[in-house]
Amino acid sequence: MSIHRIALAVLVIISITSFTAATPGPGTIQGKVTYTGTPAKPKPIDMSKEPSCAKMHTTPATTANAVTGPGNSLENVVVYISAGATDNPAAGGTVSFDQKGCEYQPHVAALQVGQELKITNSDQTSHNINAMAKANAPWNKSQPPGAPPFSEKFDKAEFIPIKCNVHPWMHAYFAVLSTSHFAVSGPEGDYKLPNLAPGKYTVTAWHESFGTQTQEITIGAGETKAVNFVFQAKPY
């Protein structure tokens, strides 16, 4: 399993390096996502219905629909090139999506159209993954404890809400994007879109609770430009 992963990682690196070699001095867009206003504070989740999960959390798990960090930074924001990218190499490798302690990891899984998504259940209980897609075909599969991981692909770009009916608090998103230039903001709200050929781009940032924002930016060869996003947080 892990060997398989490593092999894929190696492949990715090789492909990227060869690609960067091909185009001289690719640019990079990076930046920080923050919010103003007061977001709803994370609510603790009552997992008493599923003791096997409850005991995996020393402090009760909290809602993840607005995860904030130091300096008003905002996590789980999908930032991607929505227009202007001339090249669209297929993102290699597999995106993995795990169910652990009755929580989805990651909370927002970004992947490219046609990219393989590997879904694992590390819990001692049975989960069902209900992909409530609209553009793509919706599906709803159970994964009993110990059942092998299964893979899915999506053929249309879409932000797909995911839920587990057995544990209604479990919610997540599959961000299926047509481009391979995407990133999800980390704990500090920072993101990075490397390997961009010189040109004019539209950068879009999407957050599950606070909506979408776009910015235009032009980068030259080898440039690294900062694009920051500020979302208006809602208390409810």
């Binding site: 209900n130 409530m132 709803n140 599969k141 159970s142 059942a147």
Partner: protein, 595 residues
């Protein structure tokens, strides 16, 4: 029917020669009866295999069932059953067993084959309608079977298919898309076929009786089929619109059963104002009579088989048992609400439904006493059919007792939807009916095939089944007292975990009983080809089917038209050849010894 001779061989100008007309699209009620029985055997096998898979999963939740993984990679990834696939199997087990086995075999199967012969007709009143009702049933079966191969899988809403779960479509979960649609269509087909069948049974019994076959001389089995057909004509007539409205809610976006403001799959469902309780009322108005559609033919078969092997008429003759069956049928039309005590129905109507339900026990108990006390002073011949008939009596007592608990709102409010219910209805409409089917099978097999079934295998089959069935379903009653909820695919509740051992015991019993049924299938096939030849009347019985060859000719009596002089239960008659007088024998009924 004084012009009777004029219509001799009406339906059979010449026995059809080509294979298709003779065995597939035959209008001969005997072939159709065999087709129904064949379909029932196939369905029984399928339903049993489903229950094995369920029992294995219940006893050993992590057990991998390789073949299952092959059958449905989604439903059982790596052979480990998913919760929804358990419910799919449960739904199809219930549907296939209740409709295609328990309704099809005793009524449509044996009824088709023997009702015309027992009333002395050459065929059903409407042979072509008869043929079509089998083939419509068959289409229904195919539709049900298709649910296993479509990607969506079979529905998960149980054989009762309560809306909104069954009505809102795929948002309700796996199997609720095309699986549920096919299921609905399958039920609709079965319903239409059953209505046509009932029509045939009633018309045949009323108008096709041969000379001298007065109502008082009808065999009890005919009474069973006749009353059942009458009940079915009313009950299925309600199921049809009930299913139609469900299908419309699913496919045409109407809101008969679906209320407004329901949120499934994170979207507000586009329906408004419907009433789930409306469905429950319509469904159970059919659903309760349905259990009597299943058990009344069984009553008839037992009432027919038993006298042959105790060599005595039933106590009170045909009148008492028939009256009981009629009373049960009538009462069954006004008690459907006892399935809905805790379903949000007015608590007052709960009490109104409770009382007539309790009163059904009276005719049932009278029927039981008639059978039991007919044994008094008898001379029981323990052939396999007799054993199954006696087993029926014991099992039906055990099943009926549970009714006292479920008929009262107060006690039902604890036992409702627990394994007590599962044990109860399996004993009454499930196993009792199955035992009656087996009794009929061993009893009539010689007539249908011209060969006897093997008695030794038959007896082993009986003993293992009889004890095994108690091993399966009695503990379920106990689990019910412990509050063990039914329709659970795994035991995760704290108070259920300790009950896993009992579930395993039941599973083992179920697997053993299942294995024993293989013995029956073997006996059936082996005897069909190699069994020893059967005489015209191997059991020394009195009714008309034993007046003709085994198997009977295409027109049942080889051009003869029998005239009936005697009742169906002229056993133990002094001064007759042997100890019995056949219905069509001209000899006068002498005084019965012991009376």
């Amino acid at each position: 029917m004084e012009q009777a001779p004029a219509q001799a061989l009406r339906h059979h100008p010449a026995p059809p020669q080509n294979f298709i007309r003779k065995y597939i699209f035959s209008i001969d009620h005997k072939v159709i009866g065999k087709q129904y029985l064949g379909l029932a055997l196939l369905s029984a096998f399928v339903g049993m295999v489903l229950s094995w898979a369920m029992r294995i999963h219940l006893g050993w939740p992590d057990a991998s069932i390789p073949l299952l993984g092959r059958l449905s990679p989604n439903g059982a990834p790596g052979g480990v059953m998913t919760p929804e696939y358990y419910l799919s199997l449960m739904t199809m087990h219930g549907t296939i067993m209740a409709f295609f086995v328990l309704t099809a075999a005793p009524l449509s199967g044996f009824g088709n084959y023997f009702l015309p012969i027992q009333v002395g007709a050459e065929d059903m009143a409407f042979p072509r309608i008869n043929m079509s009702s089998f083939w419509i049933t068959f289409i229904g079966f195919i539709l049900a079977a298709l649910t296993f191969v479509i990607p969506d899988g079979p529905p998960i809403s149980g054989w009762t298919a309560y809306p909104p779960l069954s009505a809102v479509g795929p948002d309700a979960g796996p199997g609720q898309g095309w699986g549920q649609n096919l299921w609905g269509l399958s039920i609709a087909c079965f319903t239409v076929a059953s209505l046509l069948g009932s029509l045939n049974f009633l018309a045949t019994t009323l108008d096709m009786r041969t000379k001298g076959m007065t109502l008082s001389r009808l065999p009890i089995s005919v009474w069973g089929w006749f009353i059942t057909a009458a009940l079915g004509l009313l009950a299925f007539a309600v199921l049809l619109p009930c299913a139609l409205l469900l299908i419309l809610d699913r496919l045409a976006g109407t809101s008969f059963y679906i209320p407004g403001g329901l949120v499934l799959a994170d979207r507000v469902q586009p329906h408004n104002g419907g009433s789930p309780l409306l469905f429950q009322h319509l469904f159970w108005f059919f659903g309760h009579p349905e259990v009597y559609l299943i058990i009344l033919p069984a009553f008839g078969i037992i009432g027919h088989v038993l006298p042959t092997f105790i060599r005595k008429p039933l106590l009170g003759g045909w009148k008492v048992l028939t009256a009981c069956m009629m009373l049960i049928a009538l009462l069954s039309l006004v008690v459907w609400g006892h399935h809905m005590f805790v379903s949000g129905m007015s608590p007052y109507s709960a009490m109104l439904f409770s009382v007539p339900t309790m009163f059904i026990t009276i005719p049932s108990i009278i029927a039981m006493l008639i059978w039991i006390f007919s044994l008094y002073g008898a001379d029981i011949r323990f052939s396999t059919p007799a054993l199954f008939a006696l087993g029926f009596l014991s099992l039906f007592i055990s099943g009926g007792i549970g009714g006292f608990f479920l008929a009262q709102p107060s006690t039902d409010s604890y036992l409702h939807a627990t394994y007590f219910v599962v044990g109860h209805f399996h004993f009454t409409m499930g196993i009792s009916a199955v035992f009656a089917i087996f009794a009929g099978f061993y009893y009539w097999f010689p007539k249908m095939t011209g060969r006897m079934m093997d008695e030794t295998l038959g007896k082993i089959h009986f003993w293992a089944s009889f004890i095994g069935m108690y091993g399966i379903f009695m503990p379920m009653h106990f689990l019910g007292f412990a509050g063990h909820v039914r329709r659970y695919s795994a035991l995760v509740d704290d108070y259920l975990v300790p009950l896993l051992g009992t579930q395993r015991f039941i599973s083992i019993a179920a697997l053993v009983v299942g294995a024993v049924q293989m013995l029956f299938f073997f006996n059936f096939i082996w005897s069909y080809f190699k069994g020893k030849k059967a005489a015209e009347n191997p059991w020394e019985a009195t009714t008309l089917e034993w007046e003709t060859t085994s198997p009977p000719p295409i027109d049942n009596f080889g051009g003869r038209r029998l005239t009936v002089y005697h009742g169906p239960m002229e056993y133990n008659v002094a001064g007759s050849r042997g100890d019995y007088v056949m219905q069509a024998s001209p000899e006068p009924a002498a005084a019965r010894a012991g009376d």
